[in-house]
Symmetry: C2
Subunit: 312 residues, 2 copies
């Protein structure tokens, strides 16, 4: 990789989140010790568009190969702490149609005591993805930063129900929230997506991105609504990390565009939907890590044809 | 209405389906004796774009006012038979979020012995919507027609499971099938939409339109895939008839365009999604019947902005 690589000319994206082993019961079979975590997926996805910086924690058992893979993709791994103990582990079982999943086991391990510490040169990152971690840790990350221009947060049901007050503090400080439709409904305490969106936009974020799985993704802000379709796949393998890949690609795309306005978010959602579709095609990060500039460009074009009203 | 009305310059759409009373348990309350039925909704929707012709049966209790309303909208009602006995009645209860419903009661009444008889001047209709009736009746309709140019069929789980063989005969003779995603999965015996679409396109129809409720609608054919978003509503009242309104508007729009190619279907899906959204905003046909050329054009424009990648 050389400096001519466009990733290095754009703003690096700072990603804070989990790094994990996943044990997956998939329709295609069982997969054990699959390297995952929100930061891992998001960083690989973001690195398709720009340089990334990761803050997270791993245990002694996390593979050096994965760290090396991230580095080879232009990810600055100096914010990844290797703690004594085991890496965070999640076990889940997917329904036969992959539309739902249940958590079988969660072992926090080294993640239990995780306190994100930003290396000095990370603190002036302009773009940050606050991955799905405890909202008080998301606040700690923000407190260490010097004037980020775009702060995007993810969260989950666990924090929405259990840490609502702290989460609302986070929401007051972010530019955009990325959640799935169930999380949105839980956060806004309503079932109608548009009313939910209006409620959440009053909580702080200027923009809301709603992930809806194979029903696509939506952008809501004061400038309008955008609907990005999901790329129709014939062979879905494993949805784990698709949402994180989506978020990572959205931020990477915005960083590369160096514009964070409504129109840039529309394009970024298409990038997110496309990258997420590759993720679902393999177990863990397998297929995501194989995406090339060429395969990405081709699929983005196909996705855009899906919503081209004047397509002949 | 004058002959200058563009509806009269386009091909009339022939619509065969049910005319009914619905008893609805909605989150907003109970509604009894609501005039409905697939042909009623589809005809009102189609009449926004073109002239329509309806074939169906009603009992002695069906309101003259509804027939008069259809006529006033340019619908030829000479194929509506008034039989002695009661009108078909359906009773259903919707979940609080309107995302699912259960049938509480079905009284076929005069619909039990319905045999569609096409008035002579209906037989050369160029465009026909075979609404959700017994597939053997759909075949009877086709047998009475002289060279239609566009045949579109709807169906439902009841016929897919109970009358599969006859339904496959229908599918071999239609140009397009319009079903919801559950029906598609049941018909193709798979969960993946794209694989399902490929399977159904091998059964006969050249095009498949999949209705996905608030996740929009999709078009699959040899020319590609199109994704029409649902118009995001803030106040959904009653989804009854939304799918029929969608289908009626799709066919009306195609009739008005006088083109049935892939590009015309893309536009028609947007028309369908828009008209269906009005339907959902009122109980029964209330809001659907109030749509004007102006409100329709405005909402179609809003819907197109939802998928405009270059929107600023």
């Amino acid at each position: 990789m050389t400096n001519a690589d466009p990733r290095f000319s754009a703003n690096p994206v700072l990603i804070v989140g989990s790094m994990a082993f996943d044990d997956l019961d998939l329709p295609s079979g069982r997969a054990r010790d699959v390297v995952g975590g929100s930061a891992t997926y998001a960083a690989i996805a973001a690195s398709l568009y720009t340089a990334a910086r990761v803050v997270g924690v791993v245990g002694h058992d996390f593979p050096d190969d994965t760290i090396a893979l991230l580095e080879s993709r232009g990810v600055d791994v100096s914010g990844i702490e290797r703690a004594s103990g085991k890496t965070f582990r999640w076990a889940g079982r997917y329904a036969a149609n992959l539309a739902s999943r249940e958590t079988l086991d969660t072992q926090l391990n080294v993640f239990a005591d995780f306190r994100p510490k930003l290396p000095e040169h990370f603190r002036d990152s302009k773009i940050v993805l606050l991955g799905n971690i405890h909202p008080s840790l998301q606040l700690e990350v923000l407190a260490q930063m010097r004037g980020p221009e775009l702060v995007v947060a993810d969260t989950m049901n666990f924090w929405i129900s259990g840490e609502r007050k702290t989460l609302l503090e986070v929401l007051a400080k972010v530019d955009a929230l990325v959640v799935n439709d169930e999380e949105l409904r839980q956060l806004a305490e309503d079932h109608n997506l548009k009313r939910c969106a209006r409620a959440v936009l009053k909580m702080g974020p200027r923009r809301l991105v709603v992930k809806r799985g194979d029903a696509g993704a939506m952008l809501f802000d004061a400038d309008g609504v955008f609907f990005a379709p999901a790329y129709p796949l014939e062979n879905e393998m494993d949805p784990t990390g698709a949402g994180d890949s989506f978020a990572g690609a959205v931020l990477g795309n915005l960083a590369r565009a160096q514009r964070f306005d409504h129109a840039a978010f529309r394009q970024a959602l298409l990038a997110g939907a496309t990258v997420a579709s590759f993720c679902v095609e393999g177990v863990g990060t397998t297929e995501l890590a194989k995406v090339t500039a060429q395969s990405l460009a081709l699929r983005v074009r196909e996705l855009m044809q899906l919503l081209d009203v004047n397509q002949l």
